[in-house]
Amino acid sequence: MPGKLIDVREAAALIPDGATVSFGGFTTQRHPMALIYELIRLGRRNLYLFGHSPGGDWDILIGAGCVKRVELAYEADEAFSTVGPCWRRAVENGRIEWEDYSNFSMVARFTAGAMGIPFIPVRSLLGSDLVTREGLGPAARRADPRTSAKKLHVMDSPFDSRDRVVLVPAIHTEFAVLHVQKATACGTVRIEGQTFADVQQAHCADTVIVTAEDIVEEDDLRREPERNPIPFFVVNHVCHVPYGAHPYAVFNCYDYDPLQIAEYHGAARDDAAFRAYLEKYVLGVEDFAGYLEAVGGRRRLEPLRASPGFGYSPDLPRRRS
């Protein structure tokens, strides 16, 4: 099997302006932040993002002006901030196009794409404005094949007309980018803890990029194949990026960084302060190693390290100011 290891900057460079992309993770865990910082340094524009509950991964990309359109259920870092600050301002100032779904319906859409079917029924959404209101009108949808021709379709079951469901359209993206605990040079993947919708996102993408905390031997992962949710032939590129999800957590590796997340949210409320944050941590550094130095290097990262038996740092100071 050919090796798939490439540098994270090379991997980011494969994603062109206007691409359709989904990122793995959930609010405060396992986002491929190192690759996202590279996309910002590369000055990518007009990305189409698909997700369920992204957090600061989308928020910083939106703030940096890389994103044209999103389809999502939620955008926040949960208890760290009840709404992504750049996302909020982009909507309020008309700087982004979006369509609202729920977490279940977005994950069902990824699943339909992963299964190779055009849509999937859910019993959710009925009675809500997620059904009756649309962010993207019919003209905007018709004009752009990257967005489904219709948001959703309510129908009565052909097997029992009293049984109503909502059909939601499959998602196919050009790229899925995941950050995981372990991968091999051939692309076999090990995810520890919650898998979120990473598996479905990988299977409905044309090109899958996996960034990993550790690159391990193929035999190591093949001893327990039931713990490998994505086979190597689905994965196109693998990057070795320790701390690649910082400031977000990776179960069994390191915790989230409350200081960095608080600094981000403090800055991102204001356009000028956000630009200064970007300059200090992303645009003004050479690469991800430069980012890790800028946040404080080993002294900042060491206390985040996961304790065996917990999978996180149990003594990490987390009290909100």
């Binding site: 405060t28 909507v91 779904y101 069902a108 997620l130 919650q194």
Partner: protein, 256 residues
Amino acid sequence: MATPDYTLTELMAVTAAREIRDGEVVFAGTGLPMLGVMLAQRTHAPECVIIFEAGTAASRLAHLPMSVGDPRVMRGAAMAAGLMEVFTYVLQAGRVDVGFLSGAQVDRYGNINSTSIGRDPGHPSVRFSGSGGACDIACLAKRTIIIAKHEKRRFPETVDYVTSPGWLQGGDSREASGLVRGGPDTIVTTMGVMRFQPESKAVYLMNYHPGLTPTAVAEATSFPLDVRHAIETRPPTPLELRILREEVDPERIFLT
């Protein structure tokens, strides 16, 4: 009146905990609902089970999670998988007894807005996070408990956007929409506890928090609120307060 020996957050967490019955499967988000479930597990409902939508079931939490995707939710969990497993096999299949919801606006039928403020959601004056799993929980849990700040603008005549459907327009309108089960059961607010009339599905005041009056609660609500049968909320017991402070949130992350 003497100053109470507990805070409003503590009172609300205790009140939420008392809504959970032993053995129930509970779908909880972060913050106050999590305090409530952890307290319930340590008092009257030791066998209640917490489900996190990001993919874990029956965690034995040792530390309060900051998010449902926090590595802390893995502690002692009976199952770890992804969102699809939890939303289909657990929630949609009807295995969730109670779900917690919150939002910026709640109307008299328990419809919740957590999307945006303004009549045109395409050009909102304020944008929030969006549904997340809230709409799904509102549609598919057997009953829901809503946590809300009690202010006139947060309890309007109608919400600007129905993110999470409650009893819709009241009566049998929820069933007519095609939703197969569920509906809001209780609203725990910063001023009291509300429940829904069995027929009309309109909200009424059941309890007002110590130090307040039923009239004060009605005046902080935009729609007419039936307060005739309201009695004072039972304050937290010393045991509940001790467990909440020493075992549930000793780091004081959410308790104030």
